[in-house]
């Protein structure tokens, strides 16, 4: 088995992996990217719609264009890229076992950045009753078929779930001449970004049915129809509203799950709220030297945020390795720092936070990312440790589909290393 040594090994060559690798390289580390597909770019390659890069590049790009800017930088940056290479095992000692069509590979890594992305929830996860025919597929797979393979999944399409991929696909399939009959959403609000509701559904007169779900799949061997029904506030089906809709394709856009099977092999603990690794403010997992970023950490709505997060992880991974190397070369004992780890947890109306822990005193400003668990028209972020308020933001509207970010600066946090109070992030409704 071939052995390879790198300061930083990045697993995954999508937007997160590329940004992390570039930043780690920039900080002076030797870097490899391991990518399972035959090209870099990840899922961006099939996201041919525009809307990417507005915040990071200040211009509107398509997915492949956004990816290309990074692919070109990686090509110019003396980063070793292993394509069509699959990681099959990962040890706490940061050994990465991988394979490609030349053989088995063992990477010895000073630090690892997990950037494997996420996968789509499937029909099985939500247990839709009925038959199990051809014609039921996830929105991302349909996107692959239409945008890369040039194939149509069907002619008359129903979409379950108002996640962004589903909304984007509603427009895409319409433009390709298929008939999108409607988008059905269990929740009383849409899960995708407002701009996608507007641009992908409203502009094409595709109906969005809230508080409605698919109750039965009908037809064998191919999908012939679905049964839908409205649900009450407890998600129980309202019997009188059952309705059969003839169609030949059901697209599922019912959520994304960070893909952490590999992370767990290395002993990384997961946050049950995100299904991503538990990380600190440097995006380091509870396995030293293993970092995580992008959708493997938590599902993002904008790739621009993935890039920012990945740059932070890449820099931290490089710093981790270079600190270790310097210490060995100068044979100095590590300076003793009295640092304390505090838990960071979601409070009122918040579904999760990343990171889930902070090491204080902070050495730099900490980016706290979170989402609300229901829409709030007028509310404010309140971050507090015990009764002490660390941050209180300007009131605005919050939606579960939009990730929120607050930066905590080190000065405000200094005294926390003494009080050791756990920190909560809440979003509280504001009257008036």
């Amino acid at each position: 088995m071939k052995q390879l040594n790198y300061d930083v090994v990045v697993i995954g060559g999508g937007p997160a992996g590329m940004a992390a690798a570039l930043k780690a390289k920039d900080k002076g580390a030797t870097v490899a990217i391991i990518e399972r597909n035959d090209e870099l770019g990840g899922i961006l390659n099939q996201c041919i719609h525009s809307g990417f890069g507005l915040s990071y590049f200040k211009q509107e790009l398509t997915g492949p264009e956004y990816a290309e800017l990074f692919i070109n930088q990686v090509a110019a940056a003396d980063i070793d890229v292993f394509l069509k290479t699959m990681v099959i095992d990962l040890s706490p000692a940061r050994q990465v076992k991988a394979m490609n069509d030349e053989g088995m590979l063992l990477f010895n890594a000073g630090a690892i950045v997990l950037a494997m992305g996420c996968r789509e929830r499937t029909r099985g996860a939500i247990k839709i009753p009925g038959s199990r025919p051809a014609g039921v597929l996830t929105a991302g797979l349909a996107q692959r078929y239409v945008n890369i393979e040039n194939r149509k999944p069907g002619e008359r399409i129903v979409i379950l779930g108002s996640g962004d991929i589903g909304l984007i696909m509603a427009r895409r399939l319409t433009l390709e001449g298929m008939q999108v009959l409607g988008v059905y959403e269990l929740m009383p609000y849409a899960n995708g970004l407002y701009r996608n509701i507007k641009n992908c559904l409203d502009d094409f007169e595709i109906p969005l049915h809230l508080s409605t779900t698919v109750t039965k799949i009908i037809g064998h061997p191919h999908l012939k129809a679905i049964e839908v029904a409205k649900v009450d506030e407890n998600f129980n089906v309202i019997e009188a509203t059952r309705e059969v809709i003839p169609c030949d394709t059901l697209l599922l856009s019912i959520g994304l799950i960070p893909e952490n099977e590999l992370s767990q092999k290395s002993g990384v603990s997961l946050n049950p709220r995100t299904n991503g690794p538990l990380v600190n403010e440097d995006l380091e997992t509870d396995q030293p030297g293993i970092f995580a970023c992008g959708n493997v950490l938590h599902v993002h709505d904008l790739v621009d945020n993935v890039t920012l997060e990945a740059e932070q992880a890449g820099a931290a991974a490089a710093a981790y390795v270079l600190k270790q190397t310097n210490r060995q070369s100068t044979n100095e004992a590590r300076p003793v720092e009295a640092r304390t780890t505090l838990s960071l947890s979601p409070g009122e109306n918040v579904s999760y936070t990343v990171p889930a822990k902070l090491t204080v005193p902070l050495q730099h400003a900490a980016r706290i990312l979170f989402r609300v668990n229901k829409p709030l028209d007028q509310a404010e972020v309140v971050i507090q440790a015990g009764t002490k308020i660390l941050y209180q933001g300007k009131p605005h509207a919050f939606k579960p589909s939009v990730m929120e970010m607050v930066a905590l600066n080190p000065e405000e946090m200094i005294h926390l290393s003494y009080t050791k109070q756990p920190i909560t992030v809440a979003v509280q409704a504001v009257n008036g």
């Binding site: 996860a125 009753p129 051809a134 040039n150 390709e176 001449g177």
Partner: protein
């Protein structure tokens, strides 16, 4: 037109076990399966438990056949190279009334010849299954019980039968059968005709319909439907033992079943149906399964369900819930292997022997072949090899270095092997059953397009012609506007 000594109608685990048995003798035989693959009826809609034989009433046909069949599984697994595990079974009592039922089962089991059965205490159960419900009081323990993948067993039977000279033909729905004046049979399928001296009817839920083609109306059948759930391999709490609750009158109850590949199956419900094609999942059934398993393992995470499926047990009505294995009373040379409901998987090898004896009695000379090869070569399973072997294999053939299914670590090489196997895989699900590609937690969301591309390339078909399973289950429907052909 080919004349065979025997034609077996139905390529489920029963039909393929019979084909396998027939392949040991100097005779000509063919198996006709209506579907696109072997083992896609009741055989795939099954939890895979090889029931050891404490259920059937002593003295019944089922009792005799069940125990003998189950006992032959460890040997067959070695010879035919299919997966098998030996988790044992707990039949769990929750009350004093249950204990009486369990003791009754124990008595049945001992009479039927099941080995090593014992009553065990709550403590003994909890030692093995620490997450078992605390109100579980005692259990009947059957340590010899095994679990298999029934469709893998059917494929193994069929492949070994084929290697020993039996023709295994798929896409052959039987449309007519005629008894000729010379005593032979003429069988018509959708596009072919066959002649034979003996027919074995192993048509599962359709056995009565097949018999009726010859005017035989010796029994009526109805399916008993069951919903089942598949759970992710990755669960904090999962069973090590097959665990049933103390049974009710019609069903063995809802069990949790560790599988050969490390998943957990929960199944199954039992509802008599009229429609023989009604393999839907039903919402109340799914809920009953979740509620049922929680009585045994209260902490089993229902959020880890990756798939629901269903099966139809073929039940011969008014037959004391027994199998119907006999030569027709009205048409000589027509053998029924019908009503093979639970424990059909366990019984299949012994049913095949029973059918062999019936054929012998009916006048067919059964002379053993000297060149019969009982062994089936194992397909390459990349993920089961050690690193050195994996490396060597990739050097030999780079297709084994290309992972297609990331959830189950299945390589392009294994998929190509399946497509060109002895019983070739021509559909997405046929590939899945042989290689596990698409059986993992993403349920082929990532690999479906790759597998379709390989099937298309290897079979010389357009991607739009590739089917999920049955004819008419095409996965794609043509190019997008201006898309490549």
């Amino acid at each position: 037109m080919n004349h065979y000594d025997i034609i077996i109608i139905g390529g489920g685990i029963t039909g393929t076990a019979i084909a396998h048995e027939c392949s040991k003798y100097k005779l000509t035989a063919a198996l006709l399966e209506r579907g696109t693959d072997i083992g896609i009826g009741a055989t795939k809609g099954n939890g895979g438990v090889v029931h050891p034989g404490y259920d059937p009433t002593p003295g019944s046909l089922k009792a005799k056949i069940n125990v003998r069949g189950a006992n032959s599984y460890p040997r067959l697994a070695k010879e035919l190279n299919f997966g098998i595990i030996n988790p044992g079974i707990f039949v769990i009592g929750f009350s004093a009334a249950d204990e009486a039922v369990l003791r009754h089962k124990l008595e049945f089991g001992i009479k039927n010849g099941v080995r090593d059965l014992a009553m065990i205490t709550a403590e003994q159960m909890h030692n093995r299954e620490p997450h078992l419900a605390t109100d579980a009081k005692q259990a009947l323990y059957a340590p010899t019980a095994t679990v298999v993948d029934p469709f893998e067993v059917a494929i193994a039977f069929a492949e070994n039968a084929k290697a020993n000279g039996v023709d295994i033909l798929t896409n052959q729905p039987v449309t007519a059968i005629e008894k000729r004046t010379d005593g032979s049979f003429r069988i018509s399928t959708a596009n072919q005709q066959f002649a034979c001296s003996y027919i074995v009817n192993a048509a599962g839920n359709h056995a009565d319909a097949v018999a009726k083609l010859l005017g035989i109306e010796e029994y009526q059948m109805k399916p008993r439907h069951g919903d089942l759930l598949v759970f992710d391999k990755d669960m904090k709490i999962k069973p090590q033992t097959v665990m049933f609750p103390c049974p009710g009158p019609d069903t063995k109850g809802i069990a949790c079943i560790p599988t050969v590949h490390g998943n957990t199956i929960v199944g199954s419900t039992a509802t008599m149906m009229d429609d023989k094609e009604a393999v839907d999942n039903y919402a109340p059934g799914i809920q009953a399964l979740i509620d049922g398993v929680h009585k045994i393992l209260p902490e089993l995470d229902a959020g880890k369900i990756i798939r629901t499926f269903a099966g139809l047990r073929p039940v011969v009505l008014d037959n004391n819930n027994d199998f119907f294995i006999a030569e027709s009373q009205t048409v000589k040379g027509f053998i029924h292997a019908a009503g093979i409901q639970s424990p059909g998987v366990a019984s299949a090898p012994a049913i095949a022997e029973q059918v062999r004896d019936l054929l012998d009695n009916a006048g067919l000379e059964m002379k053993p072949k000297s060149d019969y090869n009982p062994y089936r070569e194992k397909q390459i399973v990349f993920s089961e090899l050690d690193v050195a072997k994996q490396d060597a294999l990739i050097q030999q053939n780079p297709a084994y270095g290309q992972i297609i299914c990331r959830c189950e670590t299945v390589t392009a090489g294994e998929i190509i092997d399946a497509i060109h196997g002895l019983i070739p895989a021509h559909t997405l699900d046929a590939v899945k059953r042989r290689t596990r590609a698409g059986m993992g937690r993403c349920q082929s969301g990532f690999c479906q397009y790759k597998i379709i591309a390989i099937l298309s390339r290897e079979l010389g078909l357009a991607v739009d012609e590739i089917c999920l399973e049955d004819q008419g289950s095409r996965l794609l429907c043509g190019p997008v506007k201006g898309g490549a052909k």
